[in-house]
Structures are given as C-alpha cells and as structure tokens.
Amino acid sequence: MTEPLLVVSHLHMHIGTPRGAVRAVDDVSLAIEAGQALGVVGESGSGKSMLARAIMGLLPPRAARSGSIQFKGQDLMTLPVKEQRDLWGKQIGMVFQDPGRSLNPVVRVERQLTEGMRRHLGVGRSEARTRAVRLLDEVGVPDPEARLGNYPHQMSGGMRQRVMLAIALACEPDLLIADEPTTALDVTIQRQILDLLRRVQTSRGMAMMLISHDLSVVAGRTDRVAVMYAGQLAETGATREVFAAPRHRYTHALLDATPTLHQERHARLRVIEGSLPDPTAPPPGCRFSQRCTAPVEGCAEGPIPMESVGADHRVACLNPAGAPDLVVAGGSSDGR
C-alpha cells in the first residue's frame, strides 16, 4: 500500500482551563501503515491519551483541535458528522483501559456485541448472534454461548476486556486504537490480553495503535513506537531500534529509571530530576531541557526539529544520546 492508513499532521489539541489553555497535544505528526502496530508511550501528562482522543474526535469539554487527520485519504476533522459515525466502530475500533466502565452495566453482552454489526453491517439478528459467538471464541472467552447472556459484572476484569475487544473487532475495523488496554489487569491476565491483541492484529492484518505508560508493554508487540513528552513527540522509529539504542535523552532516562527483572539487590535507580513543565506555558525550546542531563546551547530556545538518525528513526534532540556502542559503555542497555 503506497498511502499510509492514518496520517496525522501537525495535530494540536488545546483544552481551556481557568489557568489558561493546556497544550495537551502540540504539533504531533505521525503515520500508521495498513497492518502495522504503532506503540505510543509516555508518562502521565505526556499527552498520549489526549492524542488518541484527538484522533477519535472524543474531545474533552472546552477543547479544540487543529491540523489534519487523514484516514484512508479522508480528513476526519472536516468529514460531516454523519459520515464520521459510519467510520467509527466500523473502520476504526477502540478499546479503553477500564473495561468495567466502558461496557454498559445493564445491558447483556449479546446486545452490546451485536449492536454495531446490525447497525453498520446490516446483518440480521440470528446472523449477528452467530458472529458474536465466533468473535467471543476468537478472543478466548470460554463457553461463548452462555456468556452472551451475562451482564458485565458477572465477568472478571480479563474477561470483560476480552468482550471489549470482541466488540471493537465486530465490524472488522482496519484500525484498532487500544488506550492502556491492560493497565487495570494483573500480570498473568495482562499477558493473555497482550498476546491476544498481537495475535488478532497480525491474523486480521489490522493496523493498531497501542497506547501505554509501560515501555515494555509496547516493546514486544509493536512494529514502530512513538515516545511522547509534554504534548510532543520526542522520538519515533522501529520499536527494536528505539529500545536497543534510544537517542532522545528522555527515552534514555526513562529506560534507565525502570527497574528490570535482573536488577541487582538494593541498586540505586536513576531518577529524572524535576517535573513536567507547566502545560499552559511550556518553554519555547525542548520541553525536557530543564530536566536533561546533557543540554547544549539552543535547547532552551528551540524550535527543535525532528531529525532523522537512522533508516526509520527520528528524534527531536539537539544532543542525542550516543551511538549504540556508547550506550552499552554507559551501562544502560543491559538486559533490555
């Protein structure tokens, strides 16, 4: 496919607050090819969830967006509401963090699962039911026939997230946006859901945007990754390369601050000093510059362009962390 499935260009989303406009998403550009999985990672306040909401058009109160969001050549921001509705759920599916709250508590699984199919695909009641059983089976829900009659509260968190995924997949979307889909789940259940997401994504040839605060959640399951900080992209590239040789000072510091399973007993963790800049009045240059251990002249003034540092690796940093061998010498790529 020549044209990427989703192209986001110069997307801004600002939210009005009593203290001024919060620049939640500030000039973000990225693309997802058909069938590709893109991970978006960042800590709280990075704007990763707001980026997803801006793409989905689920704006918080008093928010406005600008830029362009091209999906299959159509601009989602200028598309009439009626046509947008045809797109959502049908060609773009969504899964959120809290399956307990995004499912309707007083409606049985069957209706929540078949509603979209009947509306978007125009299938009849019995056909929709057959498909629903097949979907639940695909996402690993045991005894799917019986589960159709359940209410959400009768299922465990992992089961509810499987049902959410089945609902998102019901109309065979080309793009799945999963915002922190496993954050509320235990590790062994998280593992099951992550395996399932990747399996479904590759077997259906569907594109996926996987948003997480946890770098390792994204690492093994995406083709490309975008690291966000304070509303902007810090680094994008092939997932393996970004994790093996992070170039942005923020990505580097974040990986160093994350304890691993091979951590030495009582070893001190590297900390990132300071805190996020004020989201209503971010500094003009690099937003990480005040916490950065290696700032150079120009970092504070900006603007900082996204520069290519590899075949598929771009970074917004004037003094990127060393080449891969230097990273090893610094002792930070151990075990990751």
Partner: protein
C-alpha cells in the same frame, strides 16, 4: 501455592514472625478466605518483599500484622511478643513501632490539614509537646527531601503523587518506628517518580536501620528492594527465598509463570515463556489441595488431594509444591542458582 507450613521460618532473632496467619471475611455470598495459614518472618534490618496478583492476600497480610483487619487465627510476634491477643489500647501504642504507608498517597492524607500538621499527627496523639512536634516535623520532612518551607503549609491536594507519598513516609517516620510496611507504595506513580521513592526507601532503611515489609505486584520493583521474597497466590504461600535464586531458578510453577508474564523488551515476542491459562479461582471456594493446581501445567491427582507443605527445595529456597521445578540446565552448568541472568523456561 499452595501451601502451609513453617519450614522457612528463621527462629528467634526475627523482628516480626507470623505463623499460620488466617484472615477470613464474612460476606453475603459466603466466607472469603483472604489469607490461609501463611507463615513468614523478617529479620532486623531486612526488607521482605511480598509479591502476587490481586486477590493473593498480600495487602491483607500487611494489614493483619498491624491488626487493621481482624485476624481469624494464627500468631503474630513482634520483638518476641505475641500481639494477636493485645487489646486496642496496647495495640495503639505498639503501632508506633510498626508504621504503614499505602498505595494512594493523596487519599491516605487528611485533605483539610497542612503538611506540617499531617506529619506529626502520630506524635500529637501520643501527647508530644508543641516544640517537640515542630522539631520532628522539620526532621522528617528533611529526611524525605521536602525540606523546603513552601511544603509546610500546603494541603494534600496541592501535592503531586510523589510529594504526597513522601509526606506519607515522613508521617510514618515521625514516630520513629522499627518496622515500616509499604503496601504498593509506588504503583500509582510514574516511572520517573517511582525511582525517586524507591531510592528514598532504600536510603531511609540504611540510615535509620529500618526493617521493611514491601508489598507490590510489580516483580521488578520487588527484586530491586528485597533481601527476601515471598510469593503468594490466592491466600497461600508459594515460594520464599533470596531474590537472586527465586528469580533465576524459581521452584514453584506459579513463580515461573509470573516471571514469564512480565513483558520483556529484549525477548522475541516480548515474553520469555508460555502464558498461564485461565482466571483466578474464587476465594469463596478455593480449589482443594494446591490452590494453584487449576492453572498449573504440572498439576496431577496428588495436587488435588493433598495440600503441599512448605519445604526447602534448594538451600535457602523454600516452596510449597509437590512438583517443584529443577534449576534450569544453563544455570546448573554455570554452578548454581545465584547467576543473575533470566532463565528461559525449563518446565
């Protein structure tokens, strides 16, 4: 896990010693068996990490030690003194020696009181003078890195998550405890803030000679802080030992499965071993025998019929399992379990 037994206890020198702890809750649906015959001890100056998924009873265990939840049966000894039978007044005095911090730092602080009052609440209740309280507030706030005067008059809602957790730690320290129980202290925090709090706990432990019980679901975090690790599943003990041995060559299949479920950036598909099937059984009617058997790849009839007892599988490494895992071959060849490399599954 499944099992009971006290083979892993280390005797009289322990600061805290818990034997056959049982905590049950009565609900309209039946009796929830939150903790069932769990034993462990903590030596002075040691950090014990308790790790497991939700519903494993790790938080209940921590709360039971402070008697914040009613202990159904079992014995809890602190400095050699049995505390399960103490009355509420004696317990209140004892809690000055055993302090606890919680997961939600903002929620655990009174929203209407400024930081300088919050941190000395315990001293105030104990009847300390104004002057002593003020000195203590300055001392503990400095210890947790909030020496700046601007923090003293802030209300909890003005604090960031990391700052609020520091205040909670300062409050615990104000009464000069010997034992600090941390219940998921960093799970609500971002990675960069989490690193600050973990380093702080390490510093305080070293400088003040604290003994720590660190309860968390994150295996990497527990590995970083712990001298001994206790793995729990559905109210039972699975495995106990030094973190290097437990992580490199787990003896209990559940420990192995937990480790294999942690996403790894360097593994091909992101994980080092097979996934665990199924969901957690209900604590209202846990499986007979070993409680892990319904999800265990090694389970057989014996596991259903007979509850495994805690036994020493390898020197210093204890597990409650009828079919413990051997040391992975790569490690056995390298001469033991202490090699700090992850093992690929040998099961």
């Amino acid at each position: 896990m499944a099992g009971s037994g006290a083979a892993h206890l280390r005797g009289d020198e322990a600061l805290l010693s818990v034997e056959d702890l049982v905590v049950e809750y009565r609900t309209s649906a039946g009796v929830v068996q939150a903790v069932s015959k769990v034993s462990f001890d903590v030596l002075p100056g040691e950090t014990l990490g308790i790790v497991g998924e939700s519903g494993c009873g790790k938080s209940t265990t921590g709360r039971a030690v402070l008697r914040l939840d009613t202990v159904t049966s079992g014995s809890i000894r602190f400095r050699g003194r049995a505390i399960e039978g103490l009355d509420e007044r004696e317990m209140r005095a004892l809690r000055r020696e055993m302090q606890m911090i919680f997961q939600d730092p903002v929620g655990s602080l009174n929203p209407r009181r400024p930081v300088r009052e919050l941190v000395v609440e315990g001293l105030d209740i104990a009847g300390a003078s104004r002057k002593d309280q003020e000195a203590a507030a300055g001392r503990v706030l400095e210890a947790v890195g909030l020496a700046d005067d601007r923090f003293r008059d802030l209300l909890p809602r003005r604090l960031s998550g990391g700052q609020a957790q520091r205040v909670a730690i300062a409050r615990a320290l104000a009464v000069e405890p010997q034992l600090l129980i941390c219940d998921e202290p960093v799970s609500a925090l971002d990675v960069s803030v989490q690193a600050q709090i973990l380093n702080l706990v390490e510093d305080l432990k070293r400088d003040l000679g604290l003994t720590v019980v660190f309860i968390a679901h994150d295996l990497s975090v527990v590995r970083t802080v712990s001298d001994r690790v206790l793995v729990m599943y559905l109210g039972k003990l699975c495995e106990f030992g030094e973190p290097e041995a437990v992580y490199a060559s787990p003896a209990h299949p559940y420990t192995r499965a937990l480790l294999d479920s942690v996403p790894q950036p360097d593994a091909v598909d992101g994980f080092t071993g097979p996934a665990l099937e199924g969901d957690l059984p209900s604590p209202l009617s846990p499986p007979t025998g070993c409680r892990f058997r319904t999800r265990c790849p090694r389970a057989d009839e014996q596991c259903a019929a007979e509850e495994p007892q805690v036994a020493e599988i390898r020197p210093g490494q204890f597990a409650a399992c009828h079919h413990p895992l051997p040391v992975p071959e790569v490690l056995a060849a390298a001469g033991g379990a202490a090699v700090p490399v992850p093992a690929r599954s040998s099961a």
